[in-house]
Symmetry: C2
Subunit: 207 residues, 2 copies
Amino acid sequence: MSEPKAPDASRRSERSRRAIFDAALALVSEAGYAKTTVEGIAARAGVGKQTIYRWWPSKAAVLLDAFLDLAARAAEEAGAAPGETELPDTGDLAADLRLVLRATVDEFNDPRYDAPTRALAAEGSTDPELGARLTAALLEPQLDAFARRIEAAREAGQVDPGTDARLATELLVGPLHHRWLHRTGPLTHAYADALVAQALRGLTPRP
Amino acid sequence: MSEPKAPDASRRSERSRRAIFDAALALVSEAGYAKTTVEGIAARAGVGKQTIYRWWPSKAAVLLDAFLDLAARAAEEAGAAPGETELPDTGDLAADLRLVLRATVDEFNDPRYDAPTRALAAEGSTDPELGARLTAALLEPQLDAFARRIEAAREAGQVDPGTDARLATELLVGPLHHRWLHRTGPLTHAYADALVAQALRGLTPRP
């Protein structure tokens, strides 16, 4: 992923960067990935096309960074420290997972997040290169954080020693994403809680 | 969903219908949904555009029927009777679920199925109307069949009486779809088996 160069006029740069991200997310939400262009993003952001190309090599790169920035802001709104990727660990696995999945539900129900997430998920589904970058930059760190939290619970004797933390993660994340993507049911806190309870029921230690 | 009218020259019609479906699936796989047109499908299938419009009102309608036909053929190849939507019921829930999820893995690993499924999933993700039609025509009947099989096991005392069959279904189907869509891991029979074992561990009756 490309990073903007550290400029001298850093405040003006940050303003441009924010305007470019907002424009990119708005356009991809409204028109879809295919119809979003660097020219369109520049026009909407009120910057020159060359400003975008100075910082990012392609439309995909801008959108990926815009999306990572959006996800980071959503995580901060949900209470995470900036740059934080760890799940909370209060010692109560069920409570920690409910908190995180409820926050995911809130994000999916937020149009600012839902529309660009759908646009990029759609594009990543059919474009293997973009899909791989999205998965590596955004999804894998999330899955790893879940797995680490489950491993901590396993070490604390709260889940079965034979637990595959990655598989357990997928049982928590997969159903929620599936319901969201295919709109097969309401996304509520009650659903998040029921999902956590059902998944954890399969993880508890057995005598 | 529109059905082709029963024509007199039914064999020729069936040949055209098959050619149209094949062309539609090939184009959507190669060029994506947005760039697939009724004109393009007609040219590739060697039929007139009016032949397509006689049977289907829109590109979305042709593609949806082509995709349902593909899914039905995949199910038949996997051993289902034509039109069959029920899951097998041998009395062994784990074995029946392994059989079905292994067949799903095989489909996802088959480029004939993978490419158009990705194209339509992508389009359904961002187009709520097409998404709702795909979900209603294809996904909901599958989810209902899983839920009925789990309910039968619940009635037979093989899963906990408090089991929510729909939620249990999502724990089986969601992780597999998520791993396929985002390419976050290998899709193998061993994975299908592990998923079934983990999900069922949360469903077994407790004393």
